[in-house]
């Protein structure tokens, strides 16, 4: 591997160095700076910065809005990822076999996940509007109830979930499809010879063989959903109690209340959660790679 002309240390660090330097400056350094800020009274508009010990953390842990934000974020992550997984897997099952026009349908279905979340959710406001929105007018004309998607306390989070599910179900579908396609045909043929029932085939072959990839998909989505900010900003705004995710709470604290120190403490809390999931994720990928290597 190390053969070839000129494998000096300068050269190899010359290749990997610039990228690593940029990542350390713009990712790692801010992280530690953030930890430092969380122990100060730093204000968005400047002024004297003084250490305040753990005061920000005591404020944070006693704030009811902190636990509310954690609950909202957790609820959002669990609901969005599980619905997307179920729906995506179902779609993948339906799209698995050869059928006319499949590539076109597949590509069209994948488009939403490539679009800009904040711009699309801004547009969803028009569809979900309680009075002139297309959705309620459709429901009304069918004689159904016209719920206040953007105003009803119980529905605001549901609306945000709907948009998220619209955007990210294709992602689950794509990965599920890869999992399904990777199952060798002969296994099914063997099952057919054994006259196994469809359900049994699904339970004992299809599902277990897809699980590793589905796990990867879930982890990727969870880390993404934990950051949820764009949709909340565009649909209900950062100060709505029922939809205030951790990221939205940070925005509110830092950019509206100007309390950079407290906001940094919130950032640290999010980070701990994200590192936990990311570590899981990395372990998972390592295992996958080892398996692939063996195969």
């Amino acid at each position: 591997m190390q053969s070839g002309p000129d494998s000096s240390a300068y050269l190899k660090w010359g290749f990997v160095g610039p990228a690593l330097a940029l990542l350390v400056t713009l990712n790692l350094f801010p992280l530690f700076f953030n930890i430092y800020l969380s122990f100060t009274n730093s204000d968005l508009s400047g002024g004297v910065v003084e250490g305040v010990g753990v005061a920000n953390y005591t404020t944070l842990f006693t704030e009811s809005r902190y636990s509310d934000a954690i609950t909202t974020t957790a609820l959002f992550v669990v609901c969005s990822v599980s619905v997307e997984l179920l729906l995506g897997f179902l779609l993948a099952l339906a799209l698995r076999d050869r059928m006319p026009g499949k590539p076109v349908v597949l590509t069209l279905l994948l488009i939403p996940m490539m679009l800009c979340p904040v711009v699309m959710s801004l547009f969803w406001n028009l569809i979900l509007n309680g009075q002139y929105g297309a959705l309620n007018q459709l429901l009304g004309s069918l004689g159904l109830a016209e719920p206040g998607w953007l105003t009803d306390d119980h529905l605001k989070l549901v609306s945000i979930l709907m948009v998220d599910i619209w955007m990210w179900t294709p992602f689950m579908m794509l990965i599920s499809l890869a999992g399904l396609n990777a199952i060798p045909k002969y296994i099914y043929e063997a099952a057919e010879i054994d006259r196994a029932s469809r359900w049994r085939v699904f339970r004992t072959i299809t599902l277990p063989m897809c699980t590793p990839l589905l796990g990867l998909a879930v982890l990727l989505r969870v880390t993404d959903a934990l950051k949820q900010f764009d949709l909340v900003m565009a649909i209900t705004g950062p100060n709505d109690m029922t939809t205030q995710t951790l990221s939205a709470r940070v925005y509110q604290v830092v950019f509206r209340d100007y309390k950079v120190g407290l906001g940094a403490a919130y950032g640290v809390v999010i980070l701990v959660a994200v590192i936990a999931v990311a570590t899981l994720f990395v372990r998972y990928i390592e295992r996958l790679q080892r398996q692939q290597g063996r195969a």
């Binding site: 990228a19 713009l26 801010p30 045909k185 085939v201 900010f229 900003m233 990311a278």
Partner: protein, 295 residues
């Protein structure tokens, strides 16, 4: 299922899943298109307007008279905004293009380094690079802001370019490493025999082989930069405002949200992404899973 003959029931079930989902998923995009050819009054009409028709229709009719007025008006600033849509689009293009080129170049160099040299702690570095992707913008935005403040980088194209490059590096390095790992070493060895230096080999042998991979990586980086909102909003007020921030800022406009212009602008903003999605459809899976799944 594969191997099992398709009964009518299976076909029916499949249609039952696919058809409604497809309609629901495509609807917002269809509605976006319709909105862009309506007048302002038609977009907020209490009778939903979905049938384009040549003659002027009553307010209580579902017909509306289509026009390209919204597209034409993109060249004029919306009431209260200092610049027209194309100004913000050009910001998006500049920031997106430059950061993409940087991310792909740095990422390719870095990936080559990790692929062909023995670098101490390579696994740790690689996973560090991957983990930067999980960082929520809101957890680091404050330190980045403070850093940018002292370096006078906020509110500049360069500031965003550096940030977008750094958050795309994780994707770029991992994807490119996958692509470069696939290039047989024999090619390089042959070049060395011919007396090529390490860098010449990289330039003349590896790069042409990795071109497709770089293009695919570029598309994914561009899309991520194009769609980003959190950093773009908090680090900019007017100079380098990108399209997502511009649209989000139109909420609360004094003349009401200019829906037709937003629709028209979104169509133009989203069109390249749709095109790119179609172009890289074969590599989508690889792209969204950081190269961990190779099809």
């Amino acid at each position: 299922m594969d191997g099992v003959t398709q009964s009518a029931l299976v076909k029916f079930l499949r249609a039952l899943v696919l058809v409604p989902y497809f309609l629901l998923a495509a609807f917002p995009l269809l509605w976006l298109g319709l909105t862009s050819i309506k007048s302002y009054e038609d977009t907020i009409s209490t009778t939903v307007k979905f049938l384009p028709s040549a003659e002027v229709a009553a307010t209580s009719s579902v017909r509306f008279q289509p026009s390209l007025q919204a597209y034409r008006s993109l060249a004029q600033p919306v009431a209260g905004t200092p610049n027209n849509f194309y100004h913000y689009l050009s910001n998006s293009v500049i920031v997106g293009a430059v950061s993409t080129v940087l991310a792909v170049v740095l990422g390719t160099l870095c990936a080559y380094g990790f692929s062909r040299f023995r670098i101490p702690g390579a696994r740790d570095w690689l996973f560090f690079i991957l983990s930067t992707r999980f960082l929520p913008p809101l957890a680091v935005v404050v330190p980045v802001l403070m850093m940018y403040r002292s370096m006078r980088l906020e509110n500049t194209h360069l500031g965003l370019v550096l940030l977008y490059t750094s958050f795309n590096l994780s994707l770029s390095v991992w994807l490119m490493k996958g692509f470069i790992d696939d290039i047989p070493r024999a090619f390089e060895e042959a070049a060395w025999v011919d007396g090529y230096s390490r860098f010449q080999t990289f330039w003349k042998v590896i790069l042409p082989q990795a071109a497709t991979g770089m293009a695919v990586t570029g598309v994914f980086c561009l899309i991520a930069a194009w769609n980003e909102f959190g950093f773009a909003m908090t680090l900019n007020n007017y100079e380098a405002k990108t399209v997502p921030v511009y649209f989000a800022g139109l909420q609360g406009n004094i003349k009401g949200v200019p829906w037709p212009q937003i629709g028209a602008g979104m169509m133009l903003f989203v069109a390249p992404i749709v095109l790119f999605t179609v172009l890289v459809r074969r590599h989508l899976l690889r792209g969204v899973t950081f190269g961990t799944i190779k099809q």
